[in-house]
Amino acid sequence: MPISEAHVGRSYPATAPYEVTAVKVAEFAAALKDADNPAYAGDCAVAPPTFAVVLAAATWDSLFGDPELELSLSRTVHADQRFTWTRQLRVGDLVEAQLVIDKVRLRGPAAFITISVQLATTAGEPLCVATSTLVHTAEVAA
């Protein structure tokens, strides 16, 4: 059975601890054309706020890899995004991320899927909640 309301509440194991490094923060800032911001440079750098997506995207593998849901990343678009930070990520943080399916709404071949990803340090300090609505369009059989 493809994804349905029955999957609301399903969660996946937390990702392996991810270390926020100065190189990765600088790479992400450059991808946002914001490499000149001194806050994002050096060994004491803070990460650009939306860096949280690096951790969130890592959890998407568990969602799209769940054979029961029959989801394909290439048939998915991002409809909305919310981040709520307890504090911004910074270089040296060891971060785990865990994805939960919050809501599923079906309309024809389209599934509107709300997921939330909790980011916390390996010591248990909460960092960020990233909530996304994804729209997945199933291939209609010919």
């Binding site: 054309k33 994002y40 290439s74 930070w85």
Partner: protein, 133 residues
């Protein structure tokens, strides 16, 4: 920092090329092929390869972080991706972001950001909460 309601806090313009999308895919880990492969975009009925919503969202926030000077002041951030930013195979597409203060309460400013791509709003319901104490 002027935090009166109605204050325009600044603008940022960014030109996105396919190379920028590939760079963002690598930096973010989001390798959805609709952001680099025309056939994948067409298969979903999109008008062409589109920018990652998160690239648009992340770039838009520069309006706020340039204004407040300290990214750790950002408390929350919400956007709806209302229209796709179609990125041509050659050349670039430009998006202009403008921020305006919509509320101030208990040393937290709420800012909205308008994102215009060829006169079309590509983000909706944008709301950023920023600590301004």
């Amino acid at each position: 920092m002027n935090v009166e309601v109605g204050t325009t806090i600044g603008s940022v313009s960014a030109a996105f090329s396919r190379t920028d999308l590939v760079r963002y895919a690598g930096a973010s880990g989001d390798f959805n092929p609709i952001h680099y492969n025309d056939a994948a975009a067409a298969a979903l009925g999109l008008p062409g390869v589109i920018a990652h919503g998160m690239l648009t969202m992340g770039t838009a926030l520069r309006v706020v972080t340039d204004w407040c000077g300290d990214p750790t002041r950002v408390l929350s951030y919400y956007v709806r991706f209302t229209k796709p930013v179609v990125v041509p195979a050659t050349g670039t597409v430009e998006v202009t972001f403008t921020g305006t203060v919509t509320g101030v309460s208990d040393a937290v400013a709420t800012v909205t950001i308008e994102a215009l791509c060829e006169e079309t709003k590509v983000l909706g319901s944008v709301s950023v909460e920023v600590r301004v104490d």
